[in-house]
């Protein structure tokens, strides 16, 4: 009995340490989005040029919705050329890339678009309603929407060529079948 008692306190520390070890390994920034698999929230915004931009007008296409900001350095600066390059490569195959600029100044956004020579539609989400609709908690975040208008993948952090190509190829292939 006495021996058991002596071991009880160190033994009790094991679950606590295990919990701590688990807690420190998990990044508090990795939050699973409840939106994956659900219909992408609709929005109607105006591009920097003043043209209307909505998700519905691109129904039937694979849509890449990218949330960014000009102050988001370096991740947004890394992915801007990637998005532009892939938009040019895929636009003929029924893929749309759209950039939604959040918590930003119009001039800064225009400079960013000009600096990177972005040709895909870019709109500002001035009131943050679209970002909250998409459960955005930071930039950059990218949502891959399938032809049925459902969010299939949420990517947190800069999009790479690998991520873009593998995800979009998968969505194009899968929805090409009847």
């Amino acid at each position: 009995m006495k021996r058991l008692w002596r071991w009880l306190i160190p033994l009790a520390a094991i679950p606590v340490l295990a919990l701590l070890a688990y807690g420190f390994r998990v990044s508090p920034r990795d939050i699973p989005s409840p939106l994956v698999g659900r219909p992408a929230p609709a929005f109607a915004l105006a591009t920097l040029e003043g043209a209307p931009l909505s998700l519905e007008s691109h129904r039937g296409k694979v849509v890449v919705v990218n949330f960014w900001a000009s102050w988001c350095y370096p991740a947004c600066y890394e992915e801007a050329p990637v998005l532009e390059r892939n938009w040019r490569g895929y636009r003929e195959r029924g893929v749309v890339v759209m950039g939604l600029d959040i918590q930003d100044k119009r001039e800064a956004a225009q400079k960013f678009v000009g600096d990177f020579g972005l040709t895909f539609p870019v709109a500002q989400d001035l009131k943050g309603t679209v970002s909250v609709d998409y459960g955005v908690y930071g930039v950059p975040e990218t949502f891959f929407v399938d032809r049925q208008g459902r969010i299939r993948v949420k990517h947190v952090g800069a999009v790479t060529d690998d991520v873009f190509k593998s995800t979009v190829d998968r969505l194009l292939a899968e929805t090409a079948a009847p």
């Binding site: 009131k127 943050g128 998409y134 908690y137």
Partner: protein
């Protein structure tokens, strides 16, 4: 006035303008206390350890605006909270709802307190009983030693 004080004043004025009564939109008037109550239960998504009510960040400001708009549109506070949970998951709530697996968070500390109190009580009971039983054992001093103590005491006085 120092710079820090000026900055603080500027922040207070800004806070006042965001928390102060908003222009009435739609049919229902929005009670700012309700906006605050809902915001206080939501985690600020860009700062993690602050509530949307307390955070000075732009995102939190926009979220307070969204809460206000939804209330003005006639939604109940529960519906507004549901809207945020639907998009961010239960993660957005500063205190997890008391059901299912989350109950562990509420019950484990209570269980720990009960176990701790029981352990402390047992220990105290044991210690008090052990000393009572052990006293005669420590009191055994042989005759030579007690003689020596007596002599030392006498010499000292």
């Amino acid at each position: 006035m120092s710079r820090a004080a000026l900055a603080l004043l500027a922040m207070l004025i800004m806070l006042g303008s965001t928390l102060g009564p908003a222009p009435v939109q739609g049919a229902t008037t929005v009670n700012e206390d309700t906006v605050y109550d809902i915001a206080a239960q939501l985690r600020c998504v860009v700062c993690q350890n602050l509530s949307v009510a307390d955070s000075p960040s732009e995102m939190a400001g926009q979220m307070r605006g969204i809460i206000r708009e939804r209330l003005a549109a006639g939604e109940s506070p529960a519906q507004v909270q549901r809207y945020f949970v639907d998009r961010y998951g239960e993660w957005i709530l500063l205190s997890p709802p008391r059901r299912g697996f989350n109950l562990l968070v509420w019950l484990l500390p209570l269980a720990a307190v009960v176990v701790g109190l029981a352990a402390a009580a047992t220990l105290v009971w044991r210690w008090s009983h052990r000393t009572r039983g052990a006293r005669p054992a420590t009191a055994t001093v042989d005759a030579a030693m007690s003689e020596r103590i007596r002599r030392e005491l006498e010499r000292g006085s």
